[in-house]
Amino acid sequence: MRITRSAGVLAVAGVLALSGCSGTGQEDTSSSDSGSVDLDIAVITHGAPGDSFWDVVRSGADRAADDLGITVDYNSDPDPTRQAELIDNAVSQGVDGIVVSMANPDGLRDSVEAAVAAGIPVITINSGQGQSAEFGAITHVGQDETTAGQAVGTRLNDEGQTGKVLCVIHEAGNVGLEDRCSAVAATYGGQVENLQVDGTDTAQVQDTILSKLQSDPDVGVVLALQGQVAVAAVAAQGDAGTSAEIDTFDISSDVTDAITAGDITFAVDQQPYVQGYLPVSFLYLFATNGNVVGGGQPVNSGPAFITQDNAAEVAEFAANGTR
């Protein structure tokens, strides 16, 4: 039985390590704050493991949990069937509230409606604004993709751009990203072309954008839909020796650095930290005080434009991983 025993020790060690890491922060706050309630909220997103955007959302949710003295469990899966399973899982655990991002609303409909039917308050974030109320969610926290895309198209027109806009889609299957590009195409005066890349492989993204820049001299603007992709685009631009303008959705500390340096012209910030923090605090208010925020309307977390003018002040927050 030598191997089984050592495997058991290993498993126990793993459990201890893991439970140490997840740090609910529940006991220490509840002992000091007599007014705190024991709430358990599941945050279930479609983010891929290691995605920087979703890491910031998670930071926001974790911070809200710490501030309020409640527990947040974060889980994610880009596959809608598996994300739906995570929701079912949370329902059977009997959590006190669910925060869910709906990149593919149809795939989550049954699970979200089952959660609502089980009496668990649900708030949708980031994607799926159109279906949020229909599925029975209290409210939606996010940035309407179409509004944001139109804002970018208008801004590019105002800048006097006429060249081809290369809209870089980094997640096959995300309806929201497609919406952004088509909204840009609808408002922008010139041509808009979509470029599909694999967002989980940054080196590959850089190579793909490089090939496109080298082969298509008409590209006047590279529009990234995610911070890491924008940084890859800046590197690709350097390699290609072209002079296309680079703009992006979403920010990171690398993006604000590049904006300060003038490599990226502007970033559209949908403020992911807010998308993590607000729904957790909304559910807290709902559970403790019966408050419903938004009055049935979505709560906008953005868009905010970040340019060379205000990049410096955002930069210090981005460095902390909270913007």
Partner: protein, 347 residues
């Protein structure tokens, strides 16, 4: 692919060993022990794990992997791999989703059409492998990439978007759904129909492998292909049949996934092919072919499903999910290996 298959005790004359030893020598015993250990482990650390709804959740999760793992295990026993198995689940789902919501094809017709297409791709895989003699690892990697590309490019081209929307509103959806995406209430637990498919596929595969001539052929072509050919086993026909079986299983999982979630997107299934192989190996299949079992692969999928959902039930930081899955799978393989070598020594 040319290792000699360990002797099986099923067809030959009764071995002069005790019943316990004979049972212990089955490929799936190690996986059974590991599955039990993981079940006990998560029941102990997570309150909700063994509740009816908890069991329903991880069984459903395991079933979609398990159906494929059983088919992939048969193929691996036959000495081949199919890396296109994951993309196949997405491709068949997309075929049905796009033709029905985009072009108004009848759901029943679309589902059958997808099966025909899947079988054709499986046959193509098989014929390419058998005719060229190239490793199936390479051939099916090629079909995998082709499918992944078509899932994105072709769907975007003819459908205009990358995820099927509005599938639940398609006429006749409700008449097909109970077959693939239905839910049965059993004593307070909601058990998905996919779990029944999982049981049925495992039972049929076990029966075929252990009780039929075709099953003997599978072990023979995987264990010693040349000797098998010399003794009159139809090697080409067996292998092509195995590839078509895997493709059909891909279709079944694609339909289950589609009708459960009423959507499918271009990235569906990509990356899952290795999970099927892992489940089969945890279940006692040899990467070299000629040895393994369907029940073992099913248990492998159960281990995977329990661990995946168990980490969530236990409320552990999900950033650690893959690290933890890796440790669990290694532990399962080690336990499996240990049980098997012990059993061999008792011979």
């Amino acid at each position: 692919m040319s290792t000699v298959a360990p002797t099986r005790d099923v067809d030959g004359p009764p071995a002069p060993t005790g019943r316990v030893t004979r049972v212990l020598r089955r490929p799936e015993v190690g996986a059974a022990v590991a599955a039990l250990a993981i079940l006990i482990f998560f029941t102990a650390v997570a309150d909700q794990f063994l509740t009816p709804s908890g069991v329903g959740t991880w069984l459903n999760s395991a079933s979609r992997f398990g159906i494929m793992a059983v088919a992939v295990a048969m193929l691996m026993i036959g000495g081949e791999f199919d890396l296109s198995a994951g993309a196949m689940t997405g491709a068949t789902g997309l075929l049905v989703g796009v033709t029905t919501t985009g072009f108004g094809l009848n759901v029943w017709v679309a589902v059958l059409l997808a099966l025909v297409v899947a079988l054709a791709i499986g046959a193509l895989n098989g014929v390419l492998v058998v005719r060229t003699g190239l490793p199936s690892f390479i051939v099916t990697l090629g079909t995998f990439f082709v499918l992944q590309g078509l899932d994105l490019a072709l769907v975007k081209l003819v459908y205009g978007q990358v995820a099927v929307q509005g599938f639940a509103k398609v006429p006749n959806f409700d008449s097909v759904r109970p077959l693939f995406g239905g839910v049965i209430e059993v004593g307070g637990a909601s058990i998905s129909v996919s779990v029944l498919w999982f049981l049925a596929v495992t039972a049929v595969a076990t029966l075929v492998l252990l009780r039929t001539r075709a099953g003997n052929w599978v072990f023979a072509v995987g264990g010693a292909q040349d000797s098998a050919r010399a003794t009159g086993v139809p090697v080409a026909r067996t292998k092509i049949g195995l590839f078509m079986t895997t493709a059909a299983a891909g279709w079944l999982v694609g339909m289950i996934s589609l009708f459960q979630s009423s959507t499918v997107q271009s990235s569906t299934g990509v990356g899952d092919e290795f999970i099927y192989i892992i489940c089969a190996v945890v279940g006692g299949c040899l990467l070299t072919g000629g040895y393994g079992s369907a029940v073992g692969a099913a248990l492998g999928a159960l281990i995977y499903g329990m661990t995946r959902q168990g980490v969530v039930y236990a409320g552990w930081d999900s950033n650690w999910l893959y690290a933890f899955l890796g440790v669990m799978l290694l532990a399962a393989v080690l336990v499996n290996n240990w049980v098997r070598t012990r059993a061999e020594r008792m011979r």
